[in-house]
Subunit: 346 residues, 2 copies
């Protein structure tokens, strides 16, 4: 019998979930509730790709490293960062009991991490030069009963859609928290997005606006990014500061926010986020570089009565919500298109 969590695909060690497993079984024969996908492209997580490049340097060595990981583990999970990415492909086979609503021939992107997706590569990544996190790839992947996949929209370029889907949890959760804060406070909340010029940051700004944010503050590292966010019309106040410097962040943000969203993918932004947030406010950490201990001890050390959320990448309806933001908010779309589709989230 198959498990909706994919327990039956775990080979080593037995009894753990696929994400914790060292090795999965990537056999492309679908179980009763599984879907098998012909892979077209892998989208490596930015932290993982950076680590691979730093460790292996040149493109061919990076390619060999990815092939080695997938051959050994049956999934693309960077053993150093623990992170993965997502993939794009076409549905090849659907088990009779699959609840995902997919049909053979559907073009999809997976919204569950590569860290738990059984994967087999069949072309030796011959079409990838190892210098970009977008990896052209032939092979197969398996989706479980509880996996999540989004059908690629016909009206947006693939690169743009993938780039949006990669960070689609952030705008949906931001919108939910802003709506709740609005109801709690009985007024439109002040919202601050650290890293407001990046992918998840610009989507979060647009989502916050739509969900009823009052003043909307974008904090960015450089003048150039400030200009881009201003041009896109995404925020009421745009401030420049190093998100890793708590005092600088607090001074730049000024009046504390009711909701602070952390989209800066570098370590050390926890204390600045806490200082930027009013007592009774909420911080949402989307950056995978967040340190749990720094957040917990930082808030305690500052006697800050702030709620701190681990940014869960799954909120029901998140993919459609994010794609709709990009369709309808010209400023967000312009920011995405100005980036290389393969650009890292900042």
């Amino acid at each position: 019998m198959t498990s909706p969590y994919g327990l039956h695909r775990v080979r080593e060690p037995e009894g753990v979930l696929p994400q914790q497993a060292w090795r999965l079984d990537p056999d492309p024969t679908p179980g009763a509730d599984e879907v098998v996908v012909d892979v077209e492209r892998l989208n490596l997580d930015a932290a993982s790709f950076r680590q691979l490049r730093e460790e292996h340097g040149d493109g061919a060595a990076v390619r060999a490293a990815v092939l080695g990981i997938v051959a050994e583990r049956g999934k693309m999970q960077n053993p150093v960062t623990g992170s993965g990415g997502m993939l794009l492909g076409t549905v090849r086979a659907v088990g009779p009991d699959s609840p995902l609503g997919l049909a053979v021939g559907d073009r999809i992107a997976t919204l569950v991490s590569l860290t738990l997706t059984p994967l087999r590569i069949t072309d030796g990544l011959a079409n990838w030069d190892g210098t970009s996190e977008q990896v052209p790839c032939a092979g197969t992947a398996v989706l479980f009963g509880r996996s999540i996949a989004a059908k690629l929209p016909g009206d947006l370029p693939d690169g743009l859609a993938l780039s949006v889907l990669d960070v689609c949890g952030a705008p949906a959760l931001t919108a939910r928290v802003v709506r709740r804060k609005h109801a709690e406070l009985g007024r439109a909340p002040r919202v601050c997005v650290l890293g407001g010029g990046g992918k998840s940051g610009s989507l979060s700004l647009a989502a916050a606006r739509r969900a009823g944010a009052g003043e909307l503050v974008a904090l960015v590292p450089f003048q150039r990014e400030a200009d881009a966010v201003r041009e896109a019309g995404l925020a009421d106040e745009i401030v420049i500061a190093d998100a890793r410097n708590p005092v600088e962040v607090a001074n730049a943000v000024g009046k504390q926010a009711d909701v602070t969203v952390v989209c800066v993918d570098v370590p050390g932004c926890e204390h600045g986020a806490v200082l930027a947030t009013a007592d009774g406010g909420t911080v949402i950490f989307f950056s995978m570089a967040t340190s749990f201990a720094a957040a917990a001890l930082g808030a305690e050390g500052l006697a800050a009565d702030v709620e701190m959320l681990v940014g869960n990448g799954f909120v029901p309806g998140h993919a459609d919500y994010a794609l709709d933001l990009v369709r309808t908010e010209a400023g967000v779309r312009a920011l995405f298109e100005a980036r290389e589709p393969a650009a890292a989230d900042s």
Copy 2:
């Protein structure tokens, strides 16, 4: 002008928060919003004391090392572990603008870390032999406007009070979340505490009950601990499982909880906590062994729509609330007294 965060006490490097600073100014003259304390005892953080003993070996050398750190840094922050501890003392002077509500002569324990507390030692630690993390000490410490200190209650032994204050953030935040969930759901929430037999776990169980929890589930690792929790009357259901094994946790808990509280101080409990929690539910992570990435990617990988909170150690009123629980809940007090007062939280 003084800063409520103590920025004016930072000597090196300038512009960072006291916790990040290399050196603080420990001058025992209170600023307008400061409080100066005559120190009676330092309680070194367990990780820090272990490191000092391993590096320096014998008691006199450990004592010399602590004296050296405090003389050089103006605070007791172990340069290797980065951790500190807390202190116990008597209020010596109160600045005119201090918001802490303390008076000269109050016996207090600090609830902010020694890593950010300006400290001067005046007795050469003559009464400490360097072999215990409890350090009798004469000297002075400084509290800022935003520091937190608890008056030691006259009706509880110091050791018991310190042991409770050490984990007092957990019950206060648990109570807040349970009350909110009750209002959201319109019914008494099902609450599960992983590690319900430990210090923060038993307090969280008692707090959840008082805040209106419906069924209350304690998950513990051993039969002995299950018996102790049953004896103390803290839960409706007591189940035994290894919190690091997600499948075992899910099976043991059975019906998923609306609120899951993680008080198990070992790595690897994130996925079990997510699996134990119903969609729409909340997980509160109090364990400092929590991995941010494991929590974020785990929930996403399981397509679990759960809210995940970083357990902030500060909630207004947390100290009084926890002390009151121990006073009025005989079962909790019995569990605390059965432990060595100086024992680590499990």
